[in-house]
């Protein structure tokens, strides 16, 4: 299995770096990432090789996204309730709002170029940090080498931001490629919530040509910090997207992540969570909803290194029509991670004979000093008895099925602490249903 990219060249990297007037270290970082990208296999783990599939992906010759976009931007959130908003359309920052109150603090949200200018010292630590992405992930390296747009969010220690921060990436230009980075840093004891969205731009189908979107999200939570992060992807059918995220969680830090995958030709996402601090935790819910011919390839890695660390991951996939999903995961409890508590659940519902689902919930446990190490998975269909029961109460069959699918997903959506994000996920689930 190969993955080549015409524009992944040193010339392109130099050009990107030069255009942006980047410091030498960043250029070097890009070049190193480029070499790593070229050298690495699509799937680093023998464990998953047979379950990683890029067939039909045809983005080798896509051109970098044009920056000349001039269309009207539709605000996705118009409630004005956000603490801050950044909206990047086809690679260009089109909207940036930060609430009055936040501006009084040492808070930063802007493009990486602004960060480099304003805080050159911090920028080096954040943008070129060597361990901020999984070392064996080809696509994280792709974004790191070729990003043309990056957002930096930095929250000072002990600041609690109660309202959510919205980050939006709109993309969909046919035959184009956009590589992006999101850098999130929370100082010790701070708290923030981020809703990051990957939304379609333009009319939709790409005129038969595929487009490529890459994003690397690098999250650092210092001791005692808590981040609620919701990432929703709902690209159009012609978009192939590679989303790589890594979160490093310090002592008593807490990473609550919710992910929704709702569109695109192929969405390949990989999330790594490193629980390095004592008492660090990750709670994650994931909804994958496939229709048409969409394909989802979602991998979750959690590494327990700190004592008393907790991981709780729950994924649910609903597959309609010809859609396919692979939910993969490895929870590793390292020898020094005493008393770790971990759970990984992967549940799929297949609603069509043409749909397909794979689940590989794996565990690697190096110590018996565990509080809990458990995983579970199931693949099931709608329970016809339940459908019948609802029909006997006067609900038409299709409505009954739809209600039951919602019932399958609701418990995990309810776990998301942000009302805005819940509402949005419910709306997406609702519109996604194919009768």
């Amino acid at each position: 299995m190969e993955f080549d990219l015409g524009c992944a060249t040193e010339e392109r990297v130099d050009e990107l770096s030069k255009e942006r007037g980047e410091p030498a270290y960043l250029r070097k970082d890009r070049t190193q990432a480029l070499h790593a990208f070229r050298a690495m296999p699509v799937e680093p783990l023998p464990l998953f090789i047979r379950h990683t599939d890029l067939r039909g992906v045809d983005v080798g010759e896509v051109a970098p996204a044009k920056h000349g976009f001039e269309g009207a931007v539709t605000p996705v959130y118009d409630g004005g309730e956000e603490a801050a908003v950044a909206h990047v359309v086809e690679g260009q920052l089109r909207e940036l709002r930060i609430s009055e109150k936040l501006r009084e603090h040492d808070f930063f949200l802007n493009e990486a170029s602004g960060f480099l200018e304003e805080r050159p010292k911090a920028a080096k630590g954040l943008l070129a940090r060597p361990d901020s992405l999984p070392k064996d992930d080809k696509f994280g390296m792709m974004s790191r080498a070729l990003f043309s747009s990056a957002l930096v969010l930095s929250v000072p220690p002990r600041l609690e931001i109660t309202r959510p921060i919205h980050l939006l990436w709109s993309f969909g230009d046919p035959s184009s490629a956009l590589h992006t980075r999101t850098l999130i840093h929370l100082g010790a004891g701070s708290r923030a919530s981020v809703i990051e969205e990957f939304v379609p731009e333009g009319s939709g189908d790409g005129n038969g040509a595929q487009s490529l979107f890459g994003n690397a999200t690098e999250v650092y939570l210092e001791d005692g910090a808590r981040l609620d992060h919701v990432a929703i992807e709902r690209f159009s059918d012609h978009v192939v997207s590679f989303l790589t995220r890594q979160a490093t969680v310090g002592r008593d830090g807490s990473f609550h992540q919710a992910m929704g995958s709702f569109g695109g030709f192929l969405t390949k996402s990989r999330t790594d969570c490193l629980l390095v601090g004592q008492g660090s935790r990750i709670r994650q819910v994931e909804v994958v909803y496939g229709t048409g011919q969409e394909r989802y390839d979602n991998t979750n890695f959690v590494t327990h290194r700190g004592r008393d660390s907790v991981s709780d991951l729950l994924s649910k996939a609903v597959m309609q029509e010809r859609s396919r999903s692979a939910l993969k995961g490895v929870i590793t409890i390292e020898e020094e991670a005493g008393n770790a508590d971990s759970y990984l659940g992967q549940y799929s519902m297949l609603l069509s004979r043409k749909a397909k689902s794979t689940a590989i919930p794996s565990l690697e446990i190096m110590t018996n000093d565990v509080q809990r190490a458990q995983h579970a998975a199931s693949v099931a269909q709608l329970d016809e008895d339940q459908v019948f029961y609802l029909m006997s109460r006067g609900i038409p069959r299709d409505r009954a099925r739809r209600m039951l699918v919602e019932g399958f997903l609701t418990p995990i959506v309810e776990k998301i602490p942000l009302p805005d994000a819940r509402k949005q996920l419910y709306d997406l689930i609702d519109t996604k249903w194919v009768a």
């Binding site: 020898e335 297949l350 689902s357 565990l363």
Partner: protein, 466 residues
């Protein structure tokens, strides 16, 4: 007051070895000549030689698996591929050379045969040295003999099924087995025949740097019922031996076939085995598989549910102590509608041992109304051991009902305390909990085996207490 600790015998009971003079042995290492030599010695038909050469050529082409366990130390050139301990397959123990008979005596085989077995086969290094089936079963047409003998006596049946489930190209070690196979069991139970007592085979590696490559072919005709059981041991040597067997089990419509293995290799044996069964319409394949010793085991009994309404139940048990890696598991491949599978895996790791569960559950397109249930429980007895779980579930039909559950845990302090409050020492309490954890397996064994299995586990645990 009795306050002293009970002492335990920490030695691997089967670690003894015999000095015997082999009737024939090939030179170390593998070549086309060795393959031809083995085939020639056995005076085989041309098609079998061709099959062997097919296996050999694939073995050369195929790369080593890059998953599973560490195979780097296998030196294929340092292994002897064929060792013949006696001139012929005995029909009574008197016909077996004295030293070899003594070995099997020490392993308790003739005694067990008298007590509760319907038939016994005994293999020593490359060849089957003894084979016997109860007379009334022979009269009903039950065939239980060494695989080599079966090739001569039942060439048609043999050719019809041999290598149909595991083709030479299946994997590197199946290819190797095909090239140099020798010995193994051949079982054929005719239509409607029910064999009440188990048929047992015992495989013993005696020689150092030996490769044992038995080939077992088991055919249950329509509506028959039987239980085949096998045990394996080897002496403890400083250098490694290789056991690469292939087992093919065919359960025709309505047949109920149970296959039980108890592998207790010494910790210098690489145990790389391909085991596969086809379950036809409404048949049942029960697979009970326990792995106690070996340096590395890679074994995933696979049942292909090819006929409507077929069922399988696979029970996999593994124990890994110091220097052992058990990469075991099970596969249930649902190719037909209304098929059911249940996989239960229980593993125990201790003293740096590593246990891996690797499972595959597949529901193919067109296999409607499939039900499957997988449960893996791992018990880790100390902080230096390792337990991995890699379950794969590939589902291509919407009405399948699949569940998978796994837990990894330790023995709780409170349970130990509770048992100790009833007068058991900590070790006894630990043993008791482990045996209780594995009871789901032992209760499936004939009593004599269950007792032996419990004894082995106790011995391993006590020998590995840190």
């Amino acid at each position: 007051m009795v306050l002293e600790q009970e002492t335990v015998n920490r030695e691997y009971k089967y670690g003894f070895r015999d000095d015997i003079e082999y009737v024939y042995r090939t030179a170390k290492g593998l070549s086309e000549d060795v393959v031809r030599e083995i085939s020639g010695l056995k005076d085989e038909p041309e098609w079998m030689l061709k099959m062997r050469l097919r296996g050999y050529s694939h073995f050369l082409e195929r790369v080593m698996p890059d998953w599973g366990g560490d195979l780097d130390d296998i030196d294929f050139d340092d292994i002897r591929y064929y060792l013949k301990p006696s001139e012929k397959e005995g029909r009574s123990w008197d016909e077996v050379p004295d030293k070899i008979r003594e070995t099997f005596d020490r392993l308790g085989i003739p005694e067990a045969e008298r007590k509760f077995l319907a038939g016994v086969g005994a293999q020593y290094d490359s060849e089957v040295v003894y084979h016997k089936t109860l007379k009334h079963l022979e009269e009903q047409g039950v065939v239980f003999m060494g695989t080599d003998a079966a090739l001569k006596e039942y060439p048609e049946i043999f050719k019809e099924y041999f290598a149909t489930l595991v083709p030479p190209e299946d994997n590197k070690f199946a290819a190797l087995n095909t090239a140099v196979w020798s010995g193994g069991s051949f079982v054929y139970v005719p239509k409607g025949v029910k064999v009440e007592q188990p048929l047992q085979a015992y495989f013993r590696i005696n020689s150092e740097n030996m490769g044992q490559f038995e080939r077992t072919l088991i055919i249950g005709d329509e509506d028959c019922q039987f239980h085949y059981i096998e045990g394996c041991t080897a002496p403890t040597y400083t250098t490694n031996s290789l056991h690469a067997a292939v087992v093919e089990v065919i359960a025709k419509p309505g047949a109920i076939v149970r296959y039980t293995t108890l592998q207790n290799w010494s910790d210098n044996v690489y145990n790389l085995v391909t085991k596969r069964a086809y379950a036809y319409e409404n048949s049942t394949v029960e697979w009970v598989d326990a792995n106690i010793g070996s340096r590395l085991t890679m074994k995933y009994p696979s049942v292909y549910l090819v006929g409507k309404g077929a069922k399988t139940e696979i029970l996999s048990v593994a124990y890994a102590g110091k220097g052992m890696h058990q990469d075991a598991g099970a596969k249930a491949i649902h190719l037909a509608s209304d098929t059911q599978s249940r996989i239960t895996s229980k593993s125990v790791s201790q003293n740096g041992g590593r246990v891996t569960y690797r499972g595959h559950l597949a529901v193919a397109k067109g296999a409607r109304n499939v039900k499957s249930n997988v449960r893996c429980d791992a018990l880790m007895l100390d902080a230096v051991s390792r337990s991995d779980t890699y379950p794969y579930m590939d589902i291509e039909e919407e009405d399948a009902s699949i569940t998978h559950e796994a837990t990894v845990g330790k023995i709780s302090e409170d349970v130990l305390y509770y048992l100790m409050s009833r007068g058991l020492t900590e070790n006894e309490a630990m043993n008791m909990v482990v045996l209780g954890f594995l009871e789901i397996f032992t209760k499936e064994l004939p009593m004599e085996y269950a007792v032996e299995f419990n004894r082995l586990i106790k011995m391993e645990i006590e020998g590995n207490v840190g």
